[in-house]
């Protein structure tokens, strides 16, 4: 776990991709994606690389009517991490960590609520410029989630 400057870590062998960066706030809460101000009204005091943890699947869907530049079908899930020192060491939910949720593509639709997932870096989740959003206005890389073997 990194609690200040994030390190580039990941689940593949190259280990050279950006972190899945969440923000930690003075009240202990963690948000992904980071916001300028947290639930306690204060600015972040650190970051956490969520790609170092596994997560539990809260819910999922397979979208068949996808917009321009998006894979079809598109498996998507909401996952929940529990971030603590113990869970950082084991990479698994310890039950006593700070919960933080994320949303993202899944590598498969063959999943169930409660499954344990891990993050997998993808250089381009969606084709920039195919949709309405200005390609330069945001990043297009990020993390998909795959079942832990």
């Amino acid at each position: 776990m990194s609690d200040s400057e994030p390190e580039a870590t990941g689940t593949d062998d190259t280990n050279d991709h950006p972190p899945m960066e969440a923000a930690r706030y003075p009240d202990g809460s963690i948000l992904y994606p980071p916001h300028p101000v947290g639930p306690d009204g204060n600015e972040p005091v650190g970051t956490v690389d969520l790609s170092e943890y596994t997560a539990r699947l809260i819910t999922w869907t397979t979208s068949t009517a996808t917009p321009p530049g998006v894979r079809q079908p598109n498996h998507i899930g909401i996952v929940e991490f529990e971030v603590s020192e113990a869970s950082a060491e084991s990479r698994t939910a310890s039950g006593d960590g700070e919960p933080v949720r994320a949303i993202g593509q899944l590598t498969t639709g063959d999943v169930e609520i409660g499954d344990e997932l891990e993050a997998e870096y993808v250089g381009e989740l969606r084709e920039p410029g195919a949709g309405i959003r200005e390609p330069e206005s945001q990043a297009w890389d990020g993390y998909r989630f795959r079942p832990v073997e």
């Binding site: 979208s63 068949t64 989740l125």
Partner: protein, 395 residues
């Protein structure tokens, strides 16, 4: 001097709705300016008012620039309705633009800034492909959502799966929302779909966002609706058939949907309705009928629970038991809802109030229910912004 409503530190004029109109919803040849002018002119006719009498003119619209390349529509409508020099502004709150327009119109009259306010809401969408229209709407999402291809239908699929899982609700209960609202839409001459669907048709329709299927979703729609507002003290100068806005509230929830503590609770519905109920001095038990934002069938459950009509996790039972049928204890979406009537984004919140208005003045025709108090709940994004409006029949 009319009755004044104490709210917060000040007091405000009670606001009446004295005229209403809506165009045919569906696939229309008309473009956005024409649709807005059509509803606006019909509304002025309904109340026997000239455009030149209007003090404020609000236009609810999400994305005429993105859909059609037409901006500046508030001024365009003012000109087309001969409402110049009325103050005008476009109101965008995504899918709740219509409800937000009702809020602005109410504020303008309640504050005393306007004695006669017109609201016109509309959207032109069907010239775009489903994928393009879906992307225009999905552009409201956070970059962390958009890059994964999140759409509003996919949020609905995620939420529906969680709701069915947590509350042990049958998949068929969602389909029964579609069956009910299509049945209601048969009697709405303005509805995009005026035909019934049976449970089997819904359950066997193509999957769009698992577990939701095609008939769990509203269509892409062109259309417009309009309302006229004045102080209640002046309403009878225009008509005997008017309604008053007893309470109205607007609220927001997180932009990033997955950050909500409970994915099956819409905080904006809860918060906006608490404000509206408090202002009206009423509770959920006082509502006789409601128009809810059934852009997806699952939203009817979430709203009916968030509004306090049913306990958390029991909205599906009410549909199963027929409580929300037209002849049930609490009719919901007598218009056919967005599901059957259609969902021209900026028009939908206005058209919800149109239906409540028609019900409360006793002019809903074959859709008529016995109601003195009605509620409209208009949802923007996936519960990101919500407007709840409570109306009472004029005395």
């Amino acid at each position: 001097m009319g009755k004044r409503l104490a709210v917060g530190r000040g007091s405000m004029e009670r606001v009446a709705i004295i005229g209403a109109s809506m165009t045919q919803f569906g696939q229309r040849e008309a473009w956005i300016r024409e649709l807005l002018a059509e509803a606006g002119a019909a509304c002025l006719d309904d109340a026997g008012i000239e455009g030149s009498e209007v003090d404020h003119l609000y236009v609810s619209n999400m994305a005429s620039g993105e859909f059609e390349g037409q901006t500046g529509i508030a001024n365009a409508v003012a000109h087309d309705l001969n409402a110049i020099p009325a103050y005008t502004a476009r109101i965008d709150q995504t899918s709740s633009s219509g409800g937000a327009g009702v809020f602005s119109a109410w504020q303008s009259v309640a504050s005393g800034a306007s004695d006669l306010t017109m609201l016109v809401g509309g959207e032109k969408m069907t010239h775009r492909s489903t994928a393009e229209a879906t992307d225009v709407i999905a552009s409201l999402t956070h970059p962390a959502e958009y890059k994964h291809g999140l759409t509003l239908p996919s949020f609905a699929g995620l939420t529906a799966r969680r709701y069915l899982h947590v509350h042990d609700a049958p998949r068929e209960s969602l389909a029964k929302v579609a069956v009910k609202n299509h049945k209601n839409g048969v009697d709405n001459p303005h509805a995009q779909f005026q035909k019934e669907v049976d449970l089997e048709t819904v359950m066997e329709s193509p999957i769009i966002a698992d577990p939701l299927r095609l008939y769990d979703f509203c269509p892409i729609t062109d259309g417009s609706a309009a309302l006229l507002f004045c102080p209640e003290s002046k309403a009878k100068e225009y008509t005997d058939g008017y309604v008053t806005i007893a309470g109205i509230g607007g609220a927001t929830d997180t932009h990033v949907v997955h950050e909500r503590a409970d994915p099956t609770v819409m905080g904006g519905v809860v918060d906006s309705s608490e404000t509206a109920y408090e202002m009206a001095g009423l509770g959920p038990e006082d509502i006789d009928m409601a128009e809810l934002h059934d852009m997806f069938t699952i939203l009817e459950f979430l709203q009916s629970e968030g509004l306090g009509f049913f306990e958390q996790g029991e909205g599906w039972k009410a549909v199963e038991e027929g409580v929300t049928d037209r002849d049930g204890a609490l009719p919901i979406n007598t218009s056919g809802g967005l599901k059957s009537k259609g969902h021209p984004l900026g028009a939908s919140g206005v058209a919800q109030v149109y239906e409540v208005y028609k019900q409360l003045i006793g002019e809903a025709g074959p859709r008529q229910v016995d109601a003195e108090t009605g509620l409209a709940c208009n949802v923007g994004g996936f519960g990101n912004c919500v407007i709840t409006t409570i109306m009472e029949a004029g005395q």
